[in-house]
Amino acid sequence: MFAVLLAAPAFAAAADTAETVRFITCPIYRDTDAGKKSGCWLADDRAGGRRFDVSRAPSKPDWNFEILVEGRIAADVASHCGGLVLEPVRSSVLPTPCPRHMLPAEGFAGNKFTLPPRNVRPLSEVRKAPEPPFADRTFHLVFDFDKAFIVYQLDDYLLDQAITWIRGVNPTRVVVTGWAATDPAEVSGRTIAEDPAIARTRAELVGEALRRLGVPDEKLELRWKTSAQPVAAEGADGLAEPSRRRVDIEVKL
């Protein structure tokens, strides 16, 4: 609750100008080639008729399934794929099947791969230890819709930050709370809501992850809750909806 109150102003500031979108559709793969991982992901919003470039999503679509798209229109960013660029953007793979659709490059260059800023460094690179004064601190991991998978180059990075902090401050307790966004929402003419059970699955997953990273069992406390509300979570990049689908790691001194 505390976190929510603190967060609210940050949200308002980031979101006030650009339009955010949320819709469900079948993804389209555009076969551009500017080297590794350079293909394009497009998503047509059926209601508005607009085509979006969702290539910047940390977890990308699967051409066999529908996706839930959540993002903010980056009007001043030119697309190399053909479509309005969403950034930040999240795409969650849904279980409903889609016909595969692949477009040729049609002159679009695609996105040349660059290492995302959120990447976990090899073990051989020494982490910078946190510096005092220390205080209680909460970390958030953010998940795709109805998923409990620690997303590569997003959540693993955030988890690495959390464990570096935990190792540095040697807390008395680490409270892991899994949340599920169970309040129904209307998206693309459908009512969607997360499975309440995913809250517990998320908590247990992150609990096991922290255990493997050396947090002793007796310091760990797992909780799970439904009806999640938005918070300011680094991993959500200011997008409200993804920030509901999260795990809080509260590090108590």
């Binding site: 293909g39 679509p61 699967d62 051409w63 976990v120 998923k147 998978f149 997003l154 693993d156 493997r212």
Partner: protein, 497 residues
């Protein structure tokens, strides 16, 4: 395939001043029999179809007499060395198995009924009962079902497994198969090479991005495990692997002593193998190239080629520049290898429906990348992250027809498999036999890529009879559209590793 002796001599002469002429004068016997007591030299060279493989034992020669890797410690007369032979890059080629069959009339302990025959219930004296080992280089691996986790607790699988086809009777009946009184699943796999192991054991990152979790910890040492051993990842450490091997391949039921295990680990950790000489190209560590095992012994393992210090197969980068002093044949070979190395890294294609890559990690399905996307560790070509990926080698519709192998029907009980749906047909569920998860069906741990020339056939089920067949499989699987030249370049590269 067979080159005239004079040609070999000519090439060698031209490669004077290289290590080509430093070959030992007398040829060591190819087959290492259990308990024979030879000294394992510091450097051991064996010929193969395209050249010479070298195995180095760092720290100098070792007496093998009484050594637990070489001694027949079980009742069946076998030792570890039976299936991990120096001439075969510490694996076992199908050709070697055939030679043993011929030399011993099928009586070598290699053909022990337990796992050196298609099924122990078959008449053991006939060749047909050992056809999987002789024709495909395969050893029977019997996994108990359901699997247990690292702490020994039974896992509740999220799928059911039934036998659809059972050509040898080891997956049906009262004793064998998933419906037996104590359920088990028999699959057939190639022995994996046991040199260069520091690369397979290297832990580059704390996370397994494919499973979305930090690496699991070894219950014995509390340390994270690399996840790069065994086709199905069932053993996370050399100790765990040894217990598995001793109780199955060697029918040695008592636990191995800690001292024996330590001796084996010490031996394995000093072994490095790689091709050192090519019949057409000459020395593989000449002209600025860095082939051969010496570099492997000296280098730090666990580096992602894309993050430096050196890209994968940059060992052969110096050969990109033509050298006018070479014979046309030598020059053509060197440049082909150098092109192959580049193509391995740079030739892009669409990778699709391969769990571990296209799901759930978030790369997208499909994703454009090259061979090095999966084979990404510098100098070894295995995966820096735990390498459980479904290439389709064992699973329909991507697997080549294999009437000689059993076929299982997997039915996912909860979520369907991300690419195959709810019902899957496979001859080896791979990693799923260890995790009990239907999302892992068909995932096979990437092998190391050194010493390939000495250990055909390839892939864990031996489905690629030679290196050309490996490239052809990828060309079909991902519709790459290689030219004839590109295929040949990749084959030459891989034969030089």
């Amino acid at each position: 395939m067979i080159r005239a002796a004079p040609l070999v001599l000519a090439a060698a002469a031209l490669a004077a001043l290289t290590s080509a002429l430093a070959a030992p004068a007398s040829r060591p016997e190819r087959w290492w029999a259990p308990g024979e007591g030879r000294v394992f030299p510091a450097e051991l060279d064996y010929e193969n179809e395209t050249g010479t493989l070298r195995t180095m034992l760092v720290g100098g020669p070792m007496k093998t007499k009484g050594h637990p890797f070489f001694a027949p410690i079980g009742p069946n007369g076998r030792a570890c060395v039976t299936c991990h032979q120096p001439a075969d890059s510490m694996s076992l080629s199908a050709q070697t198995a055939q030679e043993r069959w011929t030399a011993t009339n099928g009586r070598d302990p290699l053909f022990a009924a337990g796992d050196g025959s298609n099924c122990p219930t078959l008449p053991q004296a006939t060749r047909a009962s050992h056809s999987l080992l002789l024709d495909h280089g395969l050893i029977r691996i019997q996994r108990s079902w359901p699997p247990k986790d690292l702490t020994g607790k039974a896992i509740t699988p999220d799928f059911t497994i039934e036998t659809v086809r059972d050509p040898w009777g080891c997956n049906t009946g009262a004793k064998y198969g998933p419906a037996a009184a104590s359920p088990n699943v028999s699959v057939y796999r190639r022995p994996r090479p046991i040199s260069n192991l520091k690369y397979l054991l290297a832990v580059g990152f704390a996370y397994d991005p494919k499973q979305g979790m930090p690496l699991p910890l070894d219950p014995e040492s509390g340390r994270p495990m690399s996840g790069n051993l065994m086709a199905d990842g069932r053993a996370g450490t050399l100790n765990a692997q040894m217990r598995d091997a001793a109780s199955t391949h060697l029918e040695f039921l008592k636990n191995m002593s800690a001292r024996d295990m330590a001796r084996i680990v010490y031996f394995e950790s000093r072994l490095f193998s790689a091709q050192i000489r090519d019949r057409r190209g000459g020395a593989l560590d000449a002209g600025g190239a860095e082939g051969g095992p010496d570099k492997l012994a000296r280098s730090q393992p666990g580096n992602l080629g894309s993050q430096g210090p050196a890209p994968v197969w940059s060992e052969f980068a110096a050969w990109e520049k033509p050298d006018p002093s070479l014979t046309p044949e030598q020059s053509a070979f060197r440049q082909s290898v150098a092109r192959g190395a580049r193509s391995f890294r740079e030739k892009m294609f669409l990778i699709s429906d391969s769990a571990g890559i296209n799901s759930p990690i978030g790369f997208g399905n499909p994703v454009r990348n090259s061979c090095v996307f999966c084979h990404n560790m510098t100098q070894m070509g295995n995966d820096v992250a735990p390498g459980q990926v479904d290439l389709g080698t064992t699973t329909q519709p991507f697997a080549d027809p294999a009437p000689h192998l059993p076929l299982f029907r997997i039915t996912c009980r909860r979520d369907p498999h991300p690419h195959y749906g709810r019902v899957i047909y496979t001859s080896d569920p791979g990693y799923a036999l260890t995790t009990g998860r239907c999302a892992d069906v068909g995932k096979i741990t990437l092998q190391s890529m050194r010493g390939l020339a000495a250990r055909a056939p390839y892939f864990s089920n031996g489905s690629a009879k030679d290196l050309r067949a490996v490239v052809d499989y990828y060309d079909r699987r991902y519709r790459i559209g290689y030219t004839e030249q590109e295929k040949q370049d990749l084959v030459n590269l891989m034969s030089a590793l």
